[in-house]
Amino acid sequence: MSEEDDIILAELDDEELVQQMFDDLYDGLKEEIEEGVQILLDRGWEPYEVLTKALVGGMTIVGADFRDGILFVPEVLLAANAMKGGMAILKPLLAETGAPRVGKMVIGTVKGDIHDIGKNLVGMMMEGAGFEVVDLGINNAVEAYLEALEAEKADILGMSALLTTTMPYMKVVIDTLIEQGKRDDYIVLVGGAPLNEEFGKAIGADAYCRDAAVAVETAKDWMGRKHNSANA
């Protein structure tokens, strides 16, 4: 079969279809992803299985190639958009079927910072990995973060800053959490172009994440530790 031949998703067996969905996610083909999700559901797949095996599996490849400098922001945004199309179908079904909860993150750029590209990527990749994400948008004062963390019963706080003039504000937020005795209630992840690991440590964050893929890995890792210590 030549490459120009149309691919009929419904004619592929489960394994081929999932492989094709990995590639379609990689290429940011939203309609094809929506179709693939629907086909798998029609074949009797559990919504949670579609999420983890087809979508999260595909986004893991996208994330790894983003981390390795093979894909860049435009491609990742398209992939995440395709993923979102599939998620829109799955979300209500996941809620009905009581699928396992991975974790919940409150995320936003800090006060004074409008640059939300990195924050949006993290949000989308986190959703791609099965996390619930509450996006506070741009320009968040310390009160906005604290309120949302409490109201949403979040596990993770994600803060982003792209400017040297705004990055110190992250410390203001963390210091306030400490003052109010709430610092240990949350995993605090920070990111943004001018930051680095040492900066993250110095301001008291749990981790600095250099890109969205690392943010997902780090969030999973810390959620694992949190569960372990809770069960200890």
Partner: protein
């Protein structure tokens, strides 16, 4: 086309640009989260002091305090109606400082990114972006800027929109991008790709180059990438003074004046003719850079190995211009026709 910038560049061969704006303003009491542009009208004496840092340290050119003076960013502070005013005043204050200097100094009107993603991936339309850049450029021109200075851009679409904005304002310009992601811009543009893009514009800049990013080593590698393409336009190099660290309540960049001095001569050797610093670059760094540029002759271009040894390691193995970087795995499914 001749103007103060091209004349001075022709006369001196190499120009020393300025250092950091944000870092210096913090040292004067700017609070994190506040818009630095508000100080143009609220704290003009501090802005004049900032400009004098550059002039007194030997800069041939300095940028105005207008990086965030576009409608999209000022909206955060409820000041989207003040784009023209804050841009104009930033240039007026600069004009005053430049005109009272004992030598010729160029006022370059800083224009930063909108902070939004452009179509088709994002939502910002080309025409709206052009309009925003046009507004800022108009204000800078009205305030007496010699040239416009686009900086820290990631998307080629945004660079193109700014070129049109400067054309509409009738303001000659320079423009740099930030190569902070595996040696490429956040949007994936390589140094080579930028040279092609810039030389293909209708309204070409007077000079192009790189600023900010992830440290001086990466920036030098990017300049080598520009030079390898043998473009016709002069190259700008504005690197950060090392990497940011949090020390006793404020941000400190770990690059020493000696390191930045060596970076400056290496940038010239690599092919840049407008050389300055970016975040973390303080007056003492500029003084050392001036001294180093004045006391040495241009030498052969540094190798990547020399840069690594003298300035520090790169943030990534490849910058996408050497065919050595990682590539995607073979497809599992079939490509669509």
């Amino acid at each position: 086309m001749s103007n103060a910038f091209t004349d001075l560049l022709a006369e001196k061969g190499t120009l020393l640009a300025d250092g950091a704006t944000g870092t210096n303003l913090f040292n004067m009491g700017l609070m994190s989260g506040d818009a630095p542009e508000m100080w143009n009208t609220d704290e003009p004496t501090k802005i004049i002091k900032l400009y004098r840092f550059a002039v007194d340290s030997g800069s041939d050119l300095f940028l105005t305090n207008s990086f965030g003076a576009n409608a999209s960013r000022l909206k955060l502070h409820g000041a989207e109606k003040r784009v023209h005013e804050l841009s104009r005043v930033s240039a007026e204050l600069a004009r005053e400082v430049a005109d009272t200097a004992e030598r010729k100094v160029i006022v370059a009107g800083s224009v930063g990114p909108t902070g939004e993603i452009m179509e088709p991936v994002g939502t910002l339309t080309h025409s709206l972006a052009v309009e925003m850049f046009h507004e800022t450029a108009d204000g800078l021109k009205a305030g007496g800027a010699d040239i416009g200075w686009l900086e820290t851009i990631s998307a080629p679409e945004e660079y193109r929109a700014a070129a049109e904005g400067f054309a509409l304002a009738g303001l000659p310009w320079c423009g740099t991008m930030s190569f902070d992601t595996a040696g490429r811009t956040m949007m994936g543009l390589t140094s080579e790709g930028m040279v092609d893009m810039v030389h293909g514009l209708d309204n070409t800049p007077l000079a192009y180059g790189a600023n900010c990013g992830t440290g001086a080593s990466d920036l030098l590698r990017t300049v080598l990438g520009f030079a390898a393409k043998n473009g016709t336009l002069p190259i700008i190099s504005k690197g950060n003074a090392g990497i940011p660290k949090y020390v006793e309540g404020h941000i400190h960049y770990d690059g020493t004046p000696e390191l930045m001095a060596r970076y400056a001569t290496m940038a010239r050797d690599a092919g840049a003719s407008i050389i300055g610093g970016c975040c973390g670059t303080l007056p003492e760094h500029l003084v050392a850079m001036r001294e180093a540029l004045d006391s040495t002759e241009k030498g052969p271009a540094p190798t990547l190995e020399q840069i690594r040894e003298e300035i520090g390691d790169f943030s990534s193995e490849s910058d996408g211009t050497d065919g050595q970087g990682p590539v995607r795995a073979p497809r599992r499914g079939r490509r669509r026709g």
